[in-house]
Amino acid sequence: MERLLEIKNLRTSFFTHVGEVQAVRGVSFHLDKGEAIGIVGESGSGKSITMMSVMRLLADNGKIVEGEILFEGRDLAKLPENEMQKVRGNEIGMIFQDPMTSLNPVLTVGDQLMEPLIKHKKMSKEEAFNRAVHMLELVGIPSPKSRMSQYPHEFSGGMRQRVMIAMALACEPKLLIADEPTTALDVTIQAQILELMKDLKQKINTSIILITHDLGVVADLCSRINVMYGGLIAETGTTRDIFYNPKHPYTWGLLNSVPNPKNLVKERLKPIDGQPPDLLKPPAGCPFAPRCQYAMRICMTQRPPLFEIGEGHKAACWLNHKDAPKVEAPIRRGDL
C-alpha cells in the first residue's frame, strides 16, 4: 500500500486572552491510498482541529506549533497559502458537520459544484456542467439536471449532505475528510450516506478520514481507528483491535457507554463520569487519569507513551507496561 498522508507529532494551539489552548498536543498517524480510517473521541478531544490543521483552515488565533503533515511527501504545514489553495477542494475534499454552514445560500447548487471544476480543473463551462450533473447523479439526487439551478434551502437535510459530498468529490480528491457527516441526519439517511461513501471508495479509490463519536458508524466503514482523548491519541489499531481487544480504559469506557440493541435484558448503561481535561492547563501525566478507575501513581506525573500491543496496535496507557498490574478489560462484548 502506498502512503498518502503522514502526520508526525502535530501540535496545534489557539492563543486566547486567557492563554494557550493546546487543542492538539503531539498527534501522529498515517493513511494509505484507498484506505478509510476513523477518528473517534468525545467533544473537544481535538478531532476536528487535527483535520483543520491538515486543511490549514484554523481560526486566526490558531497555529500549528510543531510537526509535519506529509501529503504525498509534501509538508502541508509549511506550504504557502497560495499553494494550499490548490490542495484544498482539489486534492483534499472536506465534508463538514453542518452542510448549511458550508454551502453558500445565495448561489445555486450548480454554480457551487461547477466553480472548483472551472478553477482547479480548467474545465469549460459546458464540461463543468456535465461533470456536476454526473456528480449529483452519483450521490443519488433524483433529476439532477433540474436540481442544478436550485438553491441549498430547497434541498432537504439529507440531500444537502449529498450535495456537500458531491462538491467534495467533484475534483476527484485523493483524500476525503468527513467531519461527523451523518451526526445531524436520521438513521435511514445516515445509512444511505454511508453506503454512498463505501461505494465511492471502491469506484474512485478515494481515501477517507471519518471523524465521529458514533462507534457504529466507524465499525461500518473504517479499517483502522484512532481514539483521541485530551488532544492526544489514546489508542490506535485496526477496527477489530479497537472493538475486540481494546487496551485503553478510555476506549473501554467509550465501548461500554452505548447500549447494545441486541440485548433483550435491560442493563444499566456505564457512562464515563467526570469532565475532559482543560486544555489551557493540560495535565502533566495521563490526561484520562482524573476519570480513570485504574489510575496509578505514575499516571499523575508522567504521560504514558504509546505502548506497542501488536502490529499497528498501540495504546497510551501505563497498564500496558510490562511491570504494571494485570487488568481484565471490562468489556461486555463477548455475550453478543
Binding site: 468525545e42 467533544s43 433524483p142 432537504s156 437535510g157 439529507g158 440531500m159 436520521d186 438513521v187 435511514t188 439517511i189 445516515q190 445509512a191 444511505q192 454511508l194 453506503e195 463519536h213 458514533d214 462507534l215 457504529g216 458508524v217 465499525a219 461500518d220 477496527t239 477489530r240 472493538f243 469506557g253 467509550l254 465501548l255 457507554s257 452505548v258 447500549p259 447494545n260 440493541p261 441486541k262 433483550l264 435491560k266 444499566r268 448503561l269 456505564k270 457512562p271 464515563i272 463520569d273 462484548r333 453478543l336
Partner: protein
C-alpha cells in the same frame, strides 16, 4: 403499571398553509393525523421516526402547547383536549416537557436558579425560602452543584444544560414528562449519563415518560414500548423487545436495519434495507398508505385504501395491508 395515565384517541394537528392575496387557507400540513395510543402509569413509551414526521408536534399537542385540531387527550380519566387555558393550569403542573435543543431552550439572560424556579413562581407554589431549598435540591438531584444556581446557561456544556432542562421540568413535581430528543445533541458518553439519570428519577419519583428520539438503540434501551411514526401517522406500536425482534411494518424493518451496530463483525453480517427516495411532503399527503412510494411490498390496494391501525395480538399494533 398497567393502568393508563394517558389515552390519546384519534389525535390530529393540522397546520394551515396560507396562500394567495387574501391569505386563504388553501392547504393543510397534516403534522399529526389520527394518532391513537395509551401510556401507562410509570411506563416509558418511546416515539421514533424520521425528522419531520410529527414526533415533536405530537408531544406538544398532548400537553396543549398546540391546540389539537381534533381527537381526545384523556389524562387520568379526564379529556383535556378542549380545555381552556384556565382549566389547563392544574394540568400544566402535572405534565412537563424537556426540549430537543439544550442550547436554544434555556433563556440566556436568566440565571439557572431562576430558570428552574420560573414554574414554581408561575404556579405560586412556595415562599422564597422554600423555593430556594427546592432549587438547591433539584440542582443536586440532577448532578449539578448548589452554586450553579447563580450562573448563566452559556457557562455550561451541552450535557449540563440538558440537566438544567430536566431540573426545570421537575420543579413543579410533575407526573408525566415528555422528553423530546433529550440526548440527540450530546456526545455518547454524556448520553449515557443523562439516560441513567432519567431512569433513576423515574423509579424514585414514579414518573411516566414519553421519550422522543431518532436513535433507536437508545429508545429501545429506555422504553417499555415503542411507537413508530411516519409522515404524521403511527404505523407500528409494540413492546420494545418485540418491536426489535419482530418488526412488522416495512418502514420499521428499514429503520431497524439502518441502525449502525458498534461491532465490526456483526455490522459486516448485517443485511441493510436502504430506503430509496425521500419522505413525501406532509402537505396534502397522498391517499392510501403514506409509505407506498418507498415500500418494496406495495400493492395496488396500498394506493387506494389507508391501512387500519390494528392489534395483531399482545398489544402489537400495525397499520399495513400486508397484515
Amino acid at each position: 403499571m398497567n393502568k393508563p395515565l394517558l389515552e390519546i384517541k384519534n389525535l390530529k394537528k393540522y397546520f394551515p398553509i396560507k396562500k394567495g392575496l387574501f391569505n386563504k387557507t388553501a392547504h393543510y400540513l397534516k403534522a399529526v393525523d389520527n394518532v391513537s395510543f395509551t401510556i401507562n402509569k410509570g411506563e416509558t413509551l418511546g416515539l421514533v421516526g424520521e425528522s419531520g414526521c410529527g414526533k415533536t408536534t405530537c408531544g406538544r399537542t398532548i400537553i396543549k402547547l398546540y391546540e389539537p385540531t381534533d381527537g381526545q387527550i384523556i389524562y387520568d380519566g379526564v379529556d383535556i383536549a378542549k380545555f381552556s387555558d384556565k382549566q389547563m393550569l392544574e394540568y400544566r403542573k402535572k405534565m412537563q416537557m424537556i426540549f430537543q435543543d439544550p442550547y436554544a431552550s434555556l433563556d440566556p439572560r436568566m440565571t439557572v436558579g431562576d430558570i428552574i424556579g420560573e414554574a414554581i413562581d408561575v404556579h405560586k407554589l412556595m415562599g422564597p425560602k422554600e423555593r430556594e431549598e427546592r432549587i438547591q435540591y433539584l440542582l443536586n438531584r440532577v448532578g449539578l452543584n448548589s452554586e450553579h444556581a447563580s450562573r448563566y446557561p452559556h457557562e455550561f456544556s451541552g450535557g449540563q444544560r440538558q440537566r438544567i432542562g430536566i431540573a426545570r421540568a421537575l420543579a413543579v413535581q410533575p407526573e408525566f414528562i415528555i422528553c423530546d430528543e433529550p440526548i440527540s445533541a450530546l456526545d455518547v458518553s454524556i448520553q449515557a449519563q443523562v439516560v441513567n439519570m432519567l431512569e433513576d428519577l423515574q423509579s424514585d419519583l414514579g414518573l411516566t415518560y414519553l421519550f422522543i428520539a431518532h436513535d433507536l438503540s437508545m429508545v429501545k434501551h429506555i422504553s417499555n414500548r415503542v411507537g413508530v411514526m411516519y409522515l404524521g401517522k403511527l404505523v407500528e406500536l409494540a413492546d420494545s423487545n418485540e418491536l426489535y425482534t419482530k418488526p412488522l411494518h416495512p418502514y420499521t424493518q428499514a429503520l431497524l436495519s439502518a441502525i449502525p451496530i458498534p461491532d465490526p463483525d456483526e455490522s459486516a453480517k448485517k443485511k441493510r434495507i436502504v430506503l430509496e427516495g425521500e419522505i413525501p411532503s406532509p402537505i396534502d399527503p397522498p391517499p392510501g398508505c403514506r409509505f407506498k412510494n418507498r415500500c418494496r411490498y406495495a400493492k395496488p390496494i396500498c394506493s387506494e385504501q389507508e391501512p387500519v391501525f390494528k392489534d395483531m395480538g399482545g398489544g402489537h399494533f400495525v397499520a399495513c395491508h400486508l397484515y
